[in-house]
């Protein structure tokens, strides 16, 4: 272990950290299964990045919970918080294990993958390029669900993750969008995000 890996105590709100851990772990499961069932390395790599973040948060949360306990009553009540955080961390580890199946090129048997692809909604990742129509638009303006039938579940902006972004969220160049929906909608989203929409599909 190098010096860089050491985690220092930072005072944070336990509530905020646990909320982030829960949100991230849930999205990780979605991303990881999609990575495995659609054999998508990009998604798998995102999962491993997220796993590092959740690990870090787990340490910070435990340190803060330890300092918050002043007596036996506190300890009895806080143990639930650290247990839930540990379980959340375990869920994110499980997601990382799924991602590893893809990254180590072990793969899931193609016949089984096909069976899943028929029933699972597609989940994909699209990077917003500078000439995309998405840039500087809010999600409320874009109405992606109504227009192309995809549900935007998260945005990654550099190292920061915005889970279940709200209507006011404005898309920036370089954002990575994670969306769920039918295959056709997902393809359309990718085209629009990459700005390659010469053939504009202007339907009601």
């Amino acid at each position: 272990m190098t010096e860089l890996d050491k985690i220092e105590y930072t005072p944070v709100s336990v509530r905020e950290v646990l909320t982030e851990m829960k949100d991230l772990s849930e999205i990780m499961i979605d991303l990881a299964y999609s990575a495995a069932l659609f054999n998508n390395r990009d998604l798998a790599e995102e999962v491993l990045e997220l796993e590092k973040r959740v690990d870090y948060l787990a340490y910070i949360l435990d340190m803060n919970a330890m300092l918050a306990a002043r007596d036996a009553d506190d300890a009895e009540s806080l143990i639930g918080v650290t247990k839930v955080a540990a379980a959340t961390d375990k869920i994110s580890d499980a997601a990382a294990d799924i991602a590893t199946i893809v990254l180590q090129e072990i793969g899931v048997h193609p016949v089984v993958r096909e069976a899943f692809q028929k029933v699972e909604e597609h989940l994909a990742r699209a990077e917003v390029k500078s000439d995309s129509m998405f840039v500087k638009k809010s999600l409320g303006e874009l109405e992606l669900a109504a227009r192309i039938g995809v549900d935007l579940i998260a945005i990654r902006r550099g190292k920061r993750w915005i889970i279940n972004p709200d209507e006011e969220e404005v898309i920036r160049e370089g954002d990575v969008l994670f969306a769920r929906g039918a295959a056709q909608g997902i393809d359309e989203l990718k085209e629009l995000a990459e700005g390659s929409c010469g053939r504009s599909t202007e339907e009601g």
């Binding site: 009540s77 247990k83 379980a87 072990i106």
Partner: protein
Amino acid sequence: MQVQKPFKQIASKLASLKDTSELMIDLSYSSLLLNSRELAEEVQELEKHVDKLHTEFELLVLSSGFKPEDSKDFLGLIRLGIVAEEIADAAAEIADVILKVSEPHPILKQVIREAEETVARVRVPRNSSLVRKRLRDAEIAEETGMWVLVIRRGKRWLRPRPNTVIKAGDVLIASGYAEGVEDLKRLVSGSSESE
């Protein structure tokens, strides 16, 4: 033909493992939010069920008669099964907090509420317009902004699917913004005769 049959079984067993483990996560968080021993115990029951499913799944994979050159593809399947079981274990640990800790810290409720806004339980009355409708056609999310997490039918917990048909007596557990709760109650209790 002979090749297809084991795959069909393997895929469907894997689907139930995956679905059950994900349902368990939803239920375990709901058990914390509602401080419900009943839900927490249900999660423990499901955990045993997953153990059983997992063994059946592994036996199916191992007995499928794969060729050495396909072993990687099958290893991937085995790993997915293990992961589903890990997720189920984690969910059981979350639910365990409700069973073991006398007064769970208020932070836990806040966290779940913040992440999912709120959770509501609504029973579908016999005369509800939703009875015998498929979930897809019930348009609950569109009408109320509430998302059905799970359906309790008698002793069973169903993970909602677009094709799931709603029955009288079902209890819908849904999450969404607080404003949606009243809309949900109204939608569910609305009788098929009125308007």
